[in-house]
Subunit: 278 residues, 4 copies
């Protein structure tokens, strides 16, 4: 199937576009809801297949459902490529790449065993749900959050670099103190323990047994306890900032058509400068 040009079947493609990409029409909404359920079912089926008892009883069902959904999603992907005016742009967009990746794992199983678990990548497609629900509110919040995270990414990287260096030094120290006993069998393993401790996860699969080791571990815990305040402080400051920027740009976006004045309150009905209706 060749990449289609907008010259061919313009009417049919426009109609299909409204159904497949649009969410305004009834058919478009229905298409998206069916798609979401197909994604949920296909991901669920892969998860259940990994449970030994279930796999043994319903082996053939899983085989059929996997190929059924894969072929369905392949057809959907090709359809999207066909009906969009700019197939290249779609193919290299975030959702375009995810849509493609969602179909590949099952084909991969023809050559490599175990590849089928990669279909879990389909779950990322569920993010479309926000588009269907037309929850502009959610998109606004997601944009505030991602702006805040983007603005603080340099600080977070500096912070994670410092934490990792600390974990490396403390892990080696503990390897020397515990002398290869009680789980500290190598430096990489001790570094793993240090990360488990600093982040306050604390599995307990490796835990110091000597008095001196427990004293050093206690110190590391208290450091981790105080250090966790740093990313929190960074992100809080940035969220407060992003929140303020968002409000500013929202109020700047409201412009009086009569006098050109901007900066009206979110709930303002009349222009505060010339009393014209907004």
């Amino acid at each position: 199937m060749s990449h289609p040009d907008v010259k061919y079947f313009p009417h049919l493609r426009k109609q299909l576009f409204e159904i497949v990409f649009g969410t305004e029409t009834r058919a478009g909404k229905l298409f998206d809801i069916i798609l979401l359920w197909a994604i949920v079912l296909s991901v669920l089926s892969v998860m259940l297949e990994s449970v030994k008892e279930i796999r043994e009883s319903y082996d053939s069902i899983f085989f059929v459902s996997e190929w059924f959904f894969t072929i369905l999603f392949t057809i959907e992907y090709l359809l999207r490529l066909f009906i969009t005016a700019e197939p290249k742009k779609y193919a290299f967009s975030f959702f375009g790449i995810i849509d493609l990746l969602a179909t590949l794992p099952t084909y991969l199983t023809l050559f490599v065993a175990g590849g089928s678990y990669l279909v879990v990548i389909r779950s990322i497609r569920l993010l479309r749900i926000f588009r269907i629900l037309k929850l502009g509110r959610y998109l606004r919040e997601a944009s505030v959050l991602s702006n805040a995270l983007a603005a603080s990414r340099h600080k977070i990287l500096v912070f994670l670099g410092a934490v990792f260096t600390l974990a490396m030094i403390m892990g080696t120290l503990m390897y020397m103190i515990e002398g290869g006993e009680s789980g500290f069998t190598s430096i990489p393993r001790s570094i793993y323990w240090a990360i488990v401790t600093i982040t306050t996860v604390g599995y307990g699969d490796i835990a110091p047994q000597t008095v001196f080791g427990q004293a050093v571990a206690s110190m590391l815990m208290l450091m981790g306890y105080a250090i966790i305040a740093v990313p929190t402080g960074i992100v809080t400051t940035e969220i407060a900032h992003a929140e303020k920027q968002q409000k500013k740009s929202e109020s700047a976006a409201r412009k009086c058509v009569a006098c050109g004045k901007t900066g009206h309150d979110k709930d303002a009905i009349f222009c505060k400068n010339c009393s014209a209706k907004l």
Copy 2:
């Protein structure tokens, strides 16, 4: 018992209303305190009954106490329905539904075994304590908190959705890496492990054993450690905002009767505009 109309026994019902619903009179206060103790005792009795050694020794006492409290709460519920002027409004209010649910579990045990544990729902009734203590301060704080949580619920949902998607992908990845060993026996179980790790709970019932698995787990922990900053940042920003709004509306509520000026400080005694006493 039919739903009574306010025409019947208006005097008796008014008196009872002051005792059962009111907290101003001495009798009303006493009624509420006895009620709270009855709730505490009935919940405690169910908890102790679940301890095997205690249940075996005092089996009949628990049976009696359970039915005693259930009948007591049933009478109380019917009484409340009888004396209130708008029984329907009460029956469908938050506390009305909780009051009903608090009586049902024991009756349920007549048909289904094990239902008796549901009486723990009675503990929600203890929230009445804030009303009895007349701690307006607590109600104010609770309202600041719930406003902040309500305002940030969209952001929190977006955040939890992203965390769950991350847990699904990382859980599947770990299932593939650890190959069904050391507790990672299925994808749902591995997702459970990923959530235990991201939230820094870290039971340790499932923990990676391979070097590569521990490296991926370390990465996930550091992500969880940085990610926890996000809900904190969201809620902090909202609490600061809700706090400000509360103060604003409180000062707006103080209005000078002489000149109509609002916005007086919380501790102001005289109107700042016309010096009249507030």
Copy 3:
């Protein structure tokens, strides 16, 4: 020994007061440093005594040191009562009560076995260190922190009440789901598990084994993960507020003696109103 009146030995008592209570003179500083070391040694000695191997070897040393420090602290306490002008005020002050409690446990061992561990209460006396170091800066910080905590105590109580109710309901639910297996042997134990999980401590001594139990546990963890944001948000807002108040009151405290103007910057040398030196 009767409570002395300031009429007796005024000179001796004044000199002793400067040594025991004061930290300005050289003797006063020395007294406090010796006292701190005695406290550290006595607490350390009790801790080491609890280690079985050490106790068996040095039993008599611990016995002697315990009585030595106890008699020392008793003499010190009586001395403080004797030299202060208002013995009653001291006896009922925070440090007065701690000083008394620090001497009692060893006497208690004459009547009750095991009471000796209570001497750990002596460690609270180490807080005197801030007074000796004359670190006004630390006291200022401690006051900001305790103001912030005091201001947020109502919100924190409401929050802890809500968390405990959640733990009670979820614990009972898990007891019903896991059916007394894998550690969930009674409702109180299941509530203990719920608290361990919500607070993200996660010992792992009790952990759900059924699929449904793990699903509910995952939900509880995500809730705990989001809920932890609440106390953080509360305290952050209050610390920012307390910080602002502190600065305000500090700048208000700086008053120009020439013109009476207040509100000068912390580093201002001249009055900003009349240029007089501050």
Copy 4:
């Protein structure tokens, strides 16, 4: 080798200086990148050596690589001392001391066994990466973070002191309650448990078994859960403050050469006072 004076070989030393210390020239960049890889390889080699299976197979390779890197870093250190104009200043600078410490551990192994693990200190040298990448942005962020941490260090110390006192008292209490059972074998060990619990790490190697012990532990967890809010609140407030200061000093640094006006926005191109280009 004597400390050289700038009089000898001024030309050669200037050229070498640009390569070894500088990052502007191509040769300088290449030198730094090779150095970083050498550091990474030497640290990795020590880590892998600690894994028993790998050490047994490649013993001689590790021996050679360790001495190779040590001699390389020793030559580099002496070179730096030789070419810098102020060798003393370099020798006592932060990186000068780290550079020296990075070479010593291997020489130490000639006298003391096990000292080789100390080469992990070399990983601190990796911080040079920020200088090579010329990421001024990262340095700015690091300075905001370290300013915030420095400003809050008094509050953090007061906080850690309070947490440690709490851990000491609660640890002793639990030792008395659990009576030396289920891991609480001594007071120091119980204090270790208390720190593990307050910081929400929760290994689970020590966990209360008695009902009363679990109740006290639950209380301690809830306290730790609420207490963690304190360092977070402190650091958040300080980061917000440091962020503001940084912006202020950055905008103050932008001064119009025409009229001397400062305080221009970060993205301003013209002076807001006299319209001259900045």
